[in-house]
């Protein structure tokens, strides 16, 4: 749990970082509770809550029945009246069963009640493909919630952000959805000790470059960074922006980068059509940054299909390092 890098920085995995954030929040605030399916003795489907039930007891680490609509709704009601629930969906795909409470209730209560109510609920949602779990357990549906005023939608790409964003989400008076990528849970990285807040709605330039801008979220940040590294060897300088938050979206950071590089590519794991890429492309097209474009904008998203089971099809269905690299090369050479 306390591995150090050579530089003496403390290293945790993404799931350890999330767990640490939950433990800190529960220690500091008795109104914080965890709810979800099999988050107690089982430790959560992805072992994120792991031993928290031993530390905080089953009254604060609550196993719910398999009742997503009800469970999420109970969390909303509890948030409305003084608790700060963190509700874990076992897979983000199961948020579909709770759409009513998330979209019609949690997102809109403050507004419908003219600002008189607050719903400080946090939903945690393991997302993404790459585990062979097929069409109903592998989706990337974060963009759906980008369409809903009242929600905040986050996508941490690193252990440090996973912890800081969860603590920020808990400090936020409005409902926040955090999409955690299943393939990142074991990823290790530096995580500061104690409590800190990662600003919500602030993107981060993870690599600066001059020839093109790649905007990516979640695991795609790492794939884009690797592609950028390979391209650097051939003299192509890609800037990689970690989106971090879909709603609110950080227009400033993206537009500034596009003004500089004149080329934009958006990489995301959700289905390409009507996704994060459409929003960002339109944002650029509607702004002065449009005048700086030297090439058409390029979107790289998932195939227009449910996530397939066969591992080779599954891989082919979503952007990979090689596909990002090839697309970025075409964009840099204006071959699009």
């Amino acid at each position: 749990m306390n591995a150090m890098t050579e530089t003496g920085l403390r290293v945790l995995s993404y799931s350890e970082a999330i767990r640490e954030a939950m433990a800190i929040a529960m220690e500091n605030d008795p109104t914080v509770i965890l709810m979800g399916e099999d988050i107690g003795v089982y430790g959560g489907a992805f072992q994120v809550t792991l031993d928290l039930v031993d530390r905080f007891g089953p009254d604060r680490v609550m196993d719910t029945p398999i009742s997503e609509l009800g469970g999420a709704g109970v969390a909303v009601g509890a948030a409305l009246t003084g608790l700060k629930p963190i509700y874990e969906f076992q897979f983000s795909d199961f948020a579909m069963l709770a759409m009513e409470q998330i979209v019609n209730q949690a997102a809109k209560l403050r507004y419908m009640l003219g600002g008189e109510a607050s719903v400080p609920v946090v939903f945690r949602l393991p997302a993404g493909s790459g585990t062979g779990a097929a069409a109903q357990h592998s989706q990337s549906i974060e963009a759906w919630f980008g369409h809903v005023p009242g929600l905040k939608v986050l996508q941490p790409a690193t252990p440090e952000d996973a912890k800081g964003m969860l603590l920020s989400a808990l400090a936020d008076p409005d409902p926040v959805m955090i999409f955690e990528h299943k393939l990142l849970y074991k990823m290790k990285g530096h995580v500061p000790e104690g409590s800190y807040l990662t600003p919500i709605g602030k993107a981060l330039v993870r690599r600066s470059g001059t020839d093109l801008t790649i905007v990516a979220g979640s695991i795609m940040v790492h794939r884009a960074l690797e592609a950028a590294e390979r391209l650097a060897a051939e003299g192509i300088s890609a800037e990689v922006i970690d989106l971090r938050s879909i709603r609110p979206i950080d227009a400033e950071t993206i537009l500034a980068s596009v003004r500089k590089t004149g080329r934009l590519m958006v990489v995301y794991e959700g289905v390409k059509a009507f996704g994060v890429g459409a929003e960002i492309s339109a944002m650029v097209a509607e702004s002065d940054a449009f005048d700086h474009l030297d090439a058409p904008i390029l979107r790289l998203g998932a195939a227009d299909a449910p996530v397939p089971y066969n591992p080779d099809l599954e891989r082919a269905a979503v952007p990979q390092v090689e596909t990002i690299e090839a697309a970025a090369r075409r964009l840099a050479r204006r071959e699009v």
Partner: protein
């Protein structure tokens, strides 16, 4: 299929109701389910199958006895723990293995895998990745039968965990209001993943839910072939007569973990071992031998047949072609 037996016949329901050839076939399919899942488990360990899978080892009587009187025209909806249902309904294990191996010759052409195994030809409308997802679909299938004046019935398999989803309650209510020919079969194996029924469910028996929807509900020993067959038989008779739905609860137990990632922290070794002494296949086999349907040698031959079929199935799956990568969006919509 059934015969009017004299009232003095004290033999178990299955023995006095079904022909010896049918009973032999039922035993063969139960062995086939067991050997298929052992083969799948072994193939998974060898890296031939990816993703996850949910084994029903220990629950074979529930699957087979429930499907005993169903024809290909009768439908079933199945669950994530659906291999047994699929085989009991008459699927070919070669095509099932091919699906698990992600091959084009698989039942879902490699797109679905274990969690979506289906065989529409034999009336199996499919396993489901969503707990409770099949319940309303089964009611829809029963509506079709009624509207089109057909006398086929739909059996809806679901787990104890699913009884707490809203879909369960909505489905049972509609089936009852519209008097539809559907049989809800709960496979109560004591746990929804790690959560014991006693911790998730307000009623003692899942069958107690039936009274809320004005339908008969019965709880039987799900490892007793005859007990299941008799309860389901009565429900089928009622459904075919136009008297509406029933709920049958088969109390059983899964020997293996919930899925391939289960540390079994929520139950004891003793509990698992105790249930393993109630092996439904061994029980049915002894019953058949005791009533002179088979002798030991014939029963061994049945088991050997099942084993050979599984081996041939694995060989077929291994030698089958994978889907073409370019076909990733195939089957999203109907082809012209």
């Amino acid at each position: 299929m059934t015969s009017d037996a004299p009232a003095t016949d004290n033999r178990p329901f299955a023995i006095r109701t079904y022909a010896p050839a049918q009973l032999r076939e039922a035993l063969r399919r139960m062995y086939l389910i067991r050997r298929f899942e052992e083969g799948a488990e072994d193939s998974y360990m060898r890296g031939l199958i990816h993703g996850t899978m949910h084994l029903s080892i220990g629950q074979e009587a529930s699957a087979m006895a429930t499907c005993m009187e169903l024809t290909d025209a009768d439908k079933i909806t199945s669950t994530h723990r659906g291999h047994g249902h699929c085989i009991a309904k008459g699927a070919d294990v070669g095509r099932m293995f091919a699906e698990f191996f992600g091959k084009e010759t698989g039942y879902c052409h490699g797109r679905g895998g274990s969690m979506h195994i289906a065989d529409v030809r034999t009336g199996n409308l499919g396993a489901n990745g969503i707990v409770g997802g099949g319940l309303p679909i089964a009611v829809g299938a029963a509506l079709t039968a009624k509207r089109l004046g057909r006398d086929d019935v739909t059996v809806c398999f679901f787990g104890d965990g699913a009884n707490n989803e809203g879909a369960f309650h909505e489905a049972l209510n509609m089936a009852s209001v519209w008097k539809l020919p559907v049989i809800f079969v709960c496979e109560n194996n004591g746990y929804g993943m790690s959560t014991a029924v006693t911790r998730s469910t307000a009623v003692r028996h899942i069958a107690d839910r039936a009274s809320a929807y004005s339908m008969p509900g019965i709880t039987v020993d799900g490892n007793d072939f005859s007990a299941v067959a008799e309860a389901v038989h009565a429900a089928i008779v009622r459904a075919r007569a136009g008297d509406g739905p029933s709920l049958v609860e088969n109390v059983t137990y899964r020997w293996r973990g919930h899925s391939k990632s289960d540390r079994n922290r929520y139950r004891t070794k003793e509990e698992i071992e105790e249930w393993m002494t109630r092996d439904p296949i061994a029980r049915f086999r002894s019953e058949l031998i005791a009533h002179g349907i088979l002798d030991e040698a014939a029963a061994d031959a049945v088991a050997a047949e099942a084993m050979a079929e599984v081996e041939a199935g694995i060989a077929f799956a291994k030698s089958s072609p994978a889907p073409a990568i370019g076909d990733v969006t195939r089957y999203v919509y109907a082809e012209n």
